[in-house]
């Protein structure tokens, strides 16, 4: 498995056979805290990659940096071979790298179908002068509406089509945000905790949707805490801790990695701290 994705052995920052996103030397400091310090990172094309790590590991910050929502102190990165550092967030999305947010950003007071239509790209009616003349955009509008309806059906939101997004449940909003991101046929979808707050009954269908994306040739990168999900659907796992990439590899292998166990459970996971204390007290005495 590792050989299909990585060049050589799986190690932090290892080269991939066919990377879609390559980042180099990306750092971001908040005051004295280094939130992200990634020396080299490659995301494999056409695969589902999970980005895991404890709270505060810098996963979301890395997402923000790569998508132009935050500016790094140093670093360059390329998407499909083209430089993406310093490019504004909306242009990043236009290049085909679309993200969702950890705190869902459904546009509450737009209807579900309007949310979906907004996700489409190249709508000529979104330019000021052309918007005044309906025939210039109504044809394209019908086309994207059809596509939106298809996606809504796939995500089982078709019954909510005319409802305001505010009327949806938390899990449904996650689904809507994901469906909306797919309206532009992105090459890389970046999902920030797609499962957070989604009830278990929906989880299964969400997993299927993510697998479906891969089947359609879309690359997926997601941040998640749910290890069950990570193990289930990801082809590759990248582990971050304290801003650095500490491990990567196929899920089965990464879960056994000592660095991962340290990052998640603490370096002294199998030491009895009580015992340590007594020993050191005795030694000190």
């Amino acid at each position: 498995m590792a050989n299909e994705i990585a060049v050589g052995a799986a190690a932090p920052g290892c080269k991939k056979v066919d990377p879609i996103l390559v980042a180099d030397n990306v750092t971001r400091q908040f005051g004295g805290l280094t939130a992200v310090n990634v020396e080299h990172l490659e995301i494999p094309r056409g695969q589902i990659t999970a980005l895991i790590g404890p709270n505060g590991a810098g996963k979301t910050t890395l997402f923000n940096l790569l998508t132009g929502f935050d500016k790094p102190n140093t670093g360059t990165w390329t998407f499909e071979g083209k430089n993406l550092a310093g490019i504004s967030s909306y242009k990043v999305a236009r290049r085909g790298m679309v993200r969702t947010f950890q705190l869902t950003k459904a546009l509450s007071l737009l209807t579900v179908i309007e949310n979906m239509r907004l996700g489409a790209k190249d709508q000529p009616g979104e330019s000021f002068w052309r918007s005044l003349i309906k025939p210039l955009w109504s044809g394209y509008e019908a086309k994207i509406t059809e596509k939106a309806d298809e996606l809504l059906k796939r995500f089982k939101l078709d019954a909510k089509r005319e409802d305001y997004a505010a009327a949806l449940s938390g899990g449904q909003r996650k689904l809507l945000e994901m469906a909306r991101a797919l309206m532009s046929d992105p090459k890389l979808v970046m999902l920030d905790e797609p499962m957070a707050g989604v009830n278990p009954a929906l989880t299964q269908s969400l997993l299927e949707h993510i697998k479906g994306l891969k089947a359609n040739g879309t690359t997926v990168l997601f941040v998640e805490h749910d290890m069950h999900m990570v193990r289930h659907i990801s082809d590759w796992v990248i582990v971050m801790a304290e801003g650095k990439v500490v491990a990567e590899g196929p899920p089965a292998q990464v879960m056994k990695d000592q660095a991962v166990i340290d990052a998640y459970l603490g370096a002294h996971a199998d030491t009895d701290l009580g015992l340590v204390e007594i020993k050191s007290l005795k030694a000190g005495n």
Binding site: S88, A106, L109, L118, E126, K134, M183
Partner: protein, 327 residues
Amino acid sequence: MDWLSIINLALGELISPLTAVYVLAALGLAVHFGFTGLLNFGQAAFAAVGAYGMAIAILTLKLPLFGAVAFGIAAVVVFALILGIPTLRLRADYLAIVTIAASEIFRYFMTTIGFSDVTGGSSGLSAFNKEFESLNPFPDGVYGFGPFTFREEQLWIRVVGWSLVAVAAVFLWLLMRSPWGRVLRGIREDEDAVRSLGKNVFAYKLQALVIGGVLAGIGGMVFSFSLANVQPQSWGTTFTFMIWTVLLLGGAATIMGPIIGSMIFFVLLMLTQSIIGGLVEIGWLPFLTPPQVGQIRFLLIGLVLMLLVIFRPQGIFGNKKELQFNG
């Protein structure tokens, strides 16, 4: 009290030029706040820039009327860009502070003696109305019926003002039903989400600021033509907050809202003025003096605005689900 004259006066307000001015400025504010979520507390400045731009173009630059109107609109566009480019990248509340400050700066700037040969200083500008009146197609005489009886020049300014309202309303309706309008509403809800979908949020906000400002600028010009003068004290914060009242009364994310809201506002203003004035005259309100009547009605308006925001934030025409307060 003479009820017939009270009612006639109030009905006359329905289509008064001032009502049309407020409709135009409130439609502009609807673009800013209702559709895009921009908190603009300087709508008076946009109207003032339009009015001064037009008047200065006629008096100082000696431009013909339509040239002067174009100059006034261009001045508003420049003003909107100056305000918008540094502030629209910031959070909405910063724009609110900048706009209210800018409108006061502009007003004081127009009041200073230093430039009074161009701006007229505190006494303002007048005598720019000749060409506007010469275009009046109505022959001398009295037109209309009942409360809607006008002399030819009164009819002319009403026709111009309300035609502009009609054009502005159709223009906004076309814009807001389009995908362009959808992007604006998206920005109102969450600009980061819209950004993540590949829309240039900054450009849309700038466009919205310019369009709403130009509408206010045109309103400012109608105001100047109807009074035949431009004075700095017309464009204080009172103007801005009365526009807000009109907008919230009618419904912020609607097009009919500002139109009907403005009509109701001025009819109510005139009714309270006449009724309270009448009651004071016949001695039923011994604790009030006639000069206080003008103040007390604004007190009542403040109360109405508070009740409105608390109990019906979406306005008369707004869809309750669509526009709750999110500013």
